[in-house]
């Protein structure tokens, strides 16, 4: 199950990151233009203008996309695995692995978590679960799409066009609903619990507010990309 959660998050994050690489190329282009303008002012640094070719700029953009994706995987998938940083004071070093695997002893319910989100809102409490939800839906769509394509193209010769089409559509829809119903909500709940626990540990409201902001900055653009470009939910019903 934890491996399934990890895989679902990884698939969703990749579906989102895959839509961002063109925008990253444009960003790298602008940064390179600014760099060239700066180093081109002086004779000594002028040769540096030729450092970054178009091919290299494209490569840099893809490396950025890869790094971004792996960072988002870490931020969203580790809590889904039940991992939680243990403080050295609370846990004996020899048992740190057990705490890491088991996570917190008492897991608050959806209702308790929701109440705390409303009463003590922090970016981490709101953004991480929402980002996880967006990524998980994108991941489920990707799994369903692959299921449909694989089933249709491999069963067509055996079962005929019409039947394999209906079977593929049915299985894709089944996979979409099944993944969301079995793994999707768990990934969101795990992230919500993790965010809640991390914010509860903070000393004071200000620290709780700033906790996990970097992680939020990493995952929110990807979550937006997932919602806008990588979740064709209705396409499975057409």
């Amino acid at each position: 199950m934890p491996l399934g959660l990890l895989a679902l998050v990884a698939v969703g994050v990749h579906a989102a990151a895959d839509t961002l690489d063109d925008r990253l190329v444009a960003l790298v282009d602008r940064a390179d233009a600014a760099f060239d303008g700066l180093v081109g002012r002086y004779d000594v640094t002028a040769p540096m203008v030729e450092w970054v070719s178009l091919e290299l700029r494209t490569r840099i953009a893809r490396i950025l996309a890869l790094t971004w994706e792996l960072a988002a995987d870490l931020v969203l998938a580790l809590p889904a695995l039940g991992y939680r940083e243990a403080t050295t004071a609370a846990v004996k070093p020899a048992e740190a692995w057990r705490a890491a695997l088991e996570g917190p002893k008492e897991k608050p319910s959806w209702r308790a978590l929701w109440r705390r989100c409303l009463r003590q809102p922090t970016p981490m409490r709101w953004l991480r679960p929402l980002a996880t939800a967006a990524v998980v839906v994108a991941g489920a769509c990707t799994v369903a799409k692959l299921m449909q394509g694989t089933v249709y193209l491999s069963w067509r010769e055996l079962m005929g066009d019409q039947i394999s089409d209906w079977v593929a559509r049915g299985m894709a829809l089944g996979a979409l609903v099944g993944v969301l119903a079995t793994l999707g909500w768990r990934a969101v709940l795990r992230n919500l619990q993790h965010a809640d626990a991390a914010c509860a540990q903070a000393r004071g409201g200000r620290q709780a507010f700033t906790r996990g902001l970097l992680g939020c900055a990493v995952v929110v653009p990807l979550a937006l990309a997932a919602v806008l470009d990588a979740t064709p939910l209705l396409s499975f019903l057409r």
Partner: protein, 336 residues
């Protein structure tokens, strides 16, 4: 009891499905595949990590982007450009990736050898396109059908329509399950090459090429360097036009390229115009074919007025003259 077991089985099945998808379709999965291949001293089947963001250009794959071996004797029509691009891309693919095209060629009684022949290949490729035109009127869907097969292409097209998107090559390729990656890259290369064949010229056709594409002795630096474009000898203030419609990706100035414009024409084709005296468009602006975009000049690292025109396919510089029909006298005086 039964319900709990059934739920457990469903959980397990869905988890396996997600792991299978992640293992084959994400860079994180590729890392795991590479690591396990390294651990067991076996050969990894994972694509290079950056190929997972390939979109449609195929730059991360090793397939060579080929330029035509024979000179073009006249300007090509759109259909001929597509046929030339298809022929050249097919030459760059391995036999396995060519299977769908070979099957289609066999259907039409065209031997594969003829399809790969430098002289007869484009004509044979045009016949393949003509056979697919009725079912796939759009160029990009037709190329998909030619490279991955009719059935997968029709499936991909229907999926894109269901998603409410435009059937571009990239969106079509995204719908295909594993096993079509190499053929999809072939289709992308064919599209890039055919777009390059259809490009106009940025200045007058009669402008002299003062320095061709390729290795040369640099007139300013005094060392042997790769010249990644062609230098067109034109007086300062000459109108520079967009060679095709596209989006301005870069409009900047530096000490080497002078005032430089980079246009992205989509389909993996980019053109650059360097050493201008004036830039007339801004970053992000959409330009049309033939639109005045700059005035040539002598800015940056340059020893005389000229336009450095550069063509890049899948981010790799190509000789623009290889895609031109008219044969010009090229001087080799190494002028910048």
């Amino acid at each position: 009891m039964f319900a709990s077991r059934a739920r457990g089985l469903l959980d397990f099945c869905m988890a396996v499905l997600c792991v299978w998808t992640a293992y084959h379709h994400t860079p994180a999965g590729a890392l795991v595949r590479k690591a396990s291949a390294w651990a067991f001293s076996s050969k990894s089947t994972a694509r290079p990590l950056l190929a997972y963001y390939d979109g449609m250009t195929g730059t991360s794959l090793a397939a060579p982007m080929l330029a035509p071996e024979v000179s073009l004797v006249r300007p090509l029509t759109d259909a001929e450009s597509l046929a030339w691009g298809t022929h050249l891309a097919l030459k760059g693919l391995d036999a396995r990736a060519r299977e769908p095209s070979a099957a289609l060629a066999q259907e039409l009684g065209i031997p594969m050898d003829r399809l790969l022949d430098s002289v007869e290949g484009p004509v044979a490729a045009r016949r393949l396109h003509a056979a697919l035109e009725e079912d796939f009127p759009r160029e990009e869907a037709r190329l998909t059908a030619l490279f991955v097969g009719r059935v997968p292409a029709r499936y991909a097209q229907e999926r894109v329509v269901a998603e409410g998107g435009e059937p571009t090559l990239e969106s079509l390729n995204r719908q295909l399950p594993p096993g079509f990656e190499t053929a999809s890259v072939g289709a992308a290369q064919a599209l890039a090459l055919s777009t390059a064949f259809g490009l106009a010229w940025p200045v007058s056709e009669s402008a002299r090429v003062s320095s061709p594409f390729g290795e040369r002795h640099h007139p300013v630096l005094g060392t042997r360097r790769m010249h990644t474009g062609v230098d067109l000898s034109v007086p300062t203030g000459t109108a520079v036009s967009a060679v095709a419609e596209g989006v301005v990706r870069r409009a900047s100035e530096d000490a080497v390229n002078g005032r430089v414009l980079v246009l992205d024409h989509g389909r993996g084709v980019t053109t650059a115009y360097c050493h201008n005296s004036e830039l007339l468009v801004r970053v992000g602006e959409r330009v049309t074919r033939g639109q005045l975009i700059a005035r040539s000049g002598n800015t940056g690292r340059s020893t005389g007025p000229h336009l450095h025109y550069q063509l890049e396919l899948a981010s790799r510089p190509m000789d623009p003259l290889k895609f031109r029909a008219s044969v010009r006298a090229v001087s080799h005086d190494n002028a910048p």
